[in-house]
Subunit: 172 residues, 2 copies
DNA sequence: GAGCAATAATTGGTGACGTCAATAGTTGTT
DNA sequence: AACAACTATTGACGTCACCAATTATTGCTC
């Protein structure tokens, strides 16, 4: 049950052995696997998203945090306090996920939950001084991650990419 | 006869990539959450990768497959047979994941495992006629997914984005 | 002003996913 | 003949996205 829920484990039955096999393919610019998959921008985004997440997480590994915690911290750094509901919608994480993330950050002393004066259901998450210090200490290393990821691009191309991605992600 | 093997180097054709294709978004967004997170291209990629994967999976939901199965099928469509090891390195999935994916596809009758005549350790995964038919039937719908994702961009901008992402993803 | 729908935070469960460790069978090398 | 490297495979572990249900609180409405 490691992978698929849509099927049980399948044991390959006896297959007819044919001497026919794959035909060697010249590796020109029209590589078939290129046409098949990497021609799709959506799939490219999915793929690079995975790689980006991995890079971030390995970078954060020593600090004991993960990308999602880091996202919360950086959002709070620019917001000076945010409702958990706000974190959920802004960062795109499930409300239940926010609970665990803020729990972790609180345990590490990087954030605090304060009661909202307007609505006693809500809680306001704010950065502590320790949280701010952590962000200052990792700011430069964080940039290095993106720098590494976008190594093949020069400065102008990176700005172009950034602008394009912003347009795509900011769609309401 | 030697199999095509694994291509280790691919050089994307040169494209004129300038920022003229994109209208830079006026950072009028004094929005603090802009400064905090979306200023980071790496995080943008991570986020859009998630959204892209979700879109693909919901699109594939009715067919009983998921994005990873679809990736295998599309790769096979352009390769005319591939070793599982090849699928693993090309698609970036763990070899153990490939096993489950091919199991599922085989159970659905979309692929077959054939013994490699060159190496009895390897197995060659090939598309069946059913698999090909599935790809033909979903080809247009698949394009609609990427179309939807990139809705805010015009044609020129999409080509620019595609070229930039290709450069980033093809790094060894 | 008393019910009632909506909301914020929370808990729990489920399936999908990435990663690593280990194994059996096979190949190439020495 | 022995040994290292490789292929497919199984298994386990932790993370993550998604959904349902609960509790406390708010706003609406009749």
């Amino acid at each position: 049950m490691s992978h698929a829920g849509i099927c049980t484990s399948y044991r390959p039955r006896e297959l007819a052995i044919t001497s026919q096999h794959v035909t060697p393919k010249p590796m020109d610019a029209e590589e078939p696997w290129m046409r098949g998959l990497h021609a799709d921008t959506g799939y490219l985004l999915y793929r690079l998203g995975l790689r980006s997440g991995q890079l971030f997480n390995t970078f954060l590994q020593e600090s004991g945090l993960r990308l999602r915690h880091y996202a919360v911290l950086r959002y709070l750094a620019g917001a000076e306090g945010a409702l958990q509901r706000e974190l959920s919608t802004r960062l795109g994480y499930d409300p239940s996920a926010i609970v665990g993330l803020v729990d972790d950050l609180e345990r590490l002393g990087m954030t605090e939950r304060r009661p909202s004066p307007d609505d006693r259901r809500s809680k306001i998450v704010v950065l502590t001084e320790d949280g701010r210090a952590f962000l200052r200490g990792t700011d430069e290393a964080g940039r290095r991650v993106t720098n590494d990821l976008l190594a093949p691009l020069d400065t102008a191309e990176r700005e172009t990419l950034q602008a394009l991605l912003l347009r795509v992600v900011d769609r309401p």
